[in-house]
């Protein structure tokens, strides 16, 4: 297929050669898709995103990006490396990792500067992004003076400014208040509408439906146990329960205590 951007076949990966993180992962992603990867802690979601970003490479199996097999050696070619980094952007789970410069502004413009973007273009994009994400007052502040939500927004801006075709997001809404979460979701949907591929790893099942065409569920065996449309996955309480994604939930509605699995798809209508 022409618009296939990532193709992973039987991919295995382990840290330090002894701690398995991915065990036989098969996944195909097409240009413009919205993909969500869900799973319990330590199930391999972040490892998969790092692999898709060309930061780690399969121990076994094959990974293709844009039709070319990805190995560590292909990044020795400066042109390939630069093009890949322009096309694929990753927002890390821990914003402290991504914000390593003395000020938020320097962090945001770090990527485009390394990738050789024209300075006028960088200034223009910075101006647009700081307006969209409401970051103007934060630009001269050092990252350690920012709140978690502000750090996340700056980290997101530092990736969005590169304007990548494929956006990888590792738990982008973790620890955020509802309004900031909404803002980030709207941004992602807007990016997808403009043709970008969005691949998100999350625990937050509330947001899955909106940001997914396909959902992949990772199990404790560090592999994909099921994939499908969001309504199909979110409606499968047994699957979600077995993989620590829902729990028994008790709350009150109109003076009646109400107990049900904490699922995220129309549970109040069904029960």
């Amino acid at each position: 297929m022409n618009n296939l951007i990532f193709e992973l076949k039987n991919v295995h990966f382990s840290y330090l050669g002894k701690f398995p993180a991915l065990s036989g992962v098969d996944i195909s992603i097409q240009q413009g898709e919205k993909i969500t990867v869900i799973g319990a802690n330590g199930s391999g979601k972040s490892t998969l995103l790092h692999m898709l970003d060309g930061l780690i490479f399969p121990d076994r199996g094959t990974m293709k990006a844009f039709g070319e097999e990805i190995k560590e050696s292909v990044f020795n070619d400066e042109n390939f490396s630069r093009n890949f980094r322009k096309k694929v952007g990753l927002v890390f789970q821990n914003p402290d990792v991504q914000l390593f410069c003395p000020t938020a502004k320097e962090d945001i413009i770090f990527g485009p500067l390394q990738l050789g973007m024209e300075r006028e273009e960088i200034e223009k994009r910075l101006e647009e992004l700081t307006g969209t994400l409401n970051l103007r007052n934060l630009l001269d502040r050092p990252p350690h003076q920012l709140s978690v939500g502000e750090k996340r927004k700056v980290a997101l801006a530092s990736t969005l400014i590169i304007n990548p075709d494929i956006l990888l997001l590792d738990e982008p809404t973790a620890g955020l208040d509802p309004l900031t979460t909404r803002h980030i979701i709207d941004l992602l949907i807007q990016a997808n509408n403009s043709g970008k591929t969005i691949i998100t790893s999350t625990h937050d099942l509330h947001i899955v439906e909106e940001i997914s065409d396909v959902v992949y569920v990772f199990g404790q065996g560090k592999t994909i146990v099921k994939s499908g449309k969001p309504e199909e996955i979110l409606g499968d309480d047994r699957l979600l329960h077995d993989h620590n994604l829902i729990h028994i939930h008790s709350h009150r509605h109109k003076n009646k205590t109400h107990i049900h699995p904490h699922s995220h798809l129309h549970h109040h209508i069904e029960t």
């Binding site: 970003d53 390593f100 770090f110 390394q114 590169i162």
Partner: protein, 258 residues
């Protein structure tokens, strides 16, 4: 811990709208270096007093509380200079024309004119240089000071590493603070010294491990955004008329009292 954080990381004075804060950090650093060279080489106490007066005037024009500034500069003086300067007052170290004699525990100690003059010159030199250095550091944001290093042709990768050290020291200070509180909440304030040592040792080990992990993650985050070993930054310094006037003024002082 809070004193350490405040003194190292606070940008409060650097964010004020004062005279020194408004200058291009490169010009400010260069002119302050000129003053420091002058302080280092002059043997005239009057010149040192004039330069000290300049530093006090700059403090006032830069919206810095004089009390805060004097406390910050004079606190270091006894530590770094008085201990060295006191023995130099006496004839044992500096022979010369006697001024007065003190008797301490039956030992006669003579203060000499040369000793007094040498000690005063030394203390004045220290206080004036410390004043300029403190003034520079509190009126300039830390990241700007780091960028200024580039004017001395220090490689960008080195400047960037320094910046990252500064950035992550703060993160580790926070981790240490939280670890300390977590230990305190579980073991109370009084613990046996042996156990205390064990806790400190395990904290050091865990911090090392975290820093090692962080180092790897940060490098990946850099790679992900196109880093290939040669960091590039945008030069954002702006030099205006006020900077050139200040440079002219500093050069005039330098040449006049040389």
């Amino acid at each position: 811990m809070s004193f350490f954080k405040e003194s190292v990381f606070s940008d409060e004075y650097a964010s004020r709208n004062g005279f020194l804060q408004s200058l291009d950090p490169r010009i400010k650093t260069a002119t302050f270096l000129l003053f420091l060279i002058q302080i280092l080489f002059t043997k005239n106490i009057f010149i040192l007093l004039c330069l000290y007066a300049v530093s006090i005037l700059l403090t006032c024009f830069s919206k810095i509380r004089l009390g805060f500034f004097l406390k910050r500069t004079w606190v270091f003086i006894p530590l770094f200079s008085l201990f060295i300067a006191i023995p130099a007052l006496f004839s044992i170290v500096t022979p010369g024309e006697p001024l007065t004699t003190l008797k301490i525990a039956g030992i006669a100690l003579t203060i000499t004119r040369q000793g007094l003059s040498g000690a005063t010159l030394f203390v004045m030199r220290v206080i004036t240089s410390v004043s300029f250095v403190v003034l520079l550091s509190i009126t300039t944001k830390h990241f700007e000071l780091l960028r200024v290093l580039r004017i001395f042709r220090i490689p960008q990768v080195f400047v960037m590493t320094l910046g990252m050290c500064y950035r992550y020291i703060f993160l580790f200070v926070e981790i240490l603070e939280n670890t300390h509180l977590a230990v305190k909440s579980r073991v109370g304030t009084r613990i046996h010294h042996k156990r205390g040592r064990r806790i400190v040792a395990s904290n050091i080990a865990s911090l090392w491990q975290r820093s090692y992990q962080l180092n790897e993650d940060v490098y990946r985050a850099m790679l992900s955004r196109g880093y290939n070993g040669e960091p590039l930054i945008l030069n954002q310094f702006k030099t205006g008329l006020r900077d050139y006037l200040w440079l002219l003024c500093a050069l005039t002082i330098f040449i006049t009292i040389r």
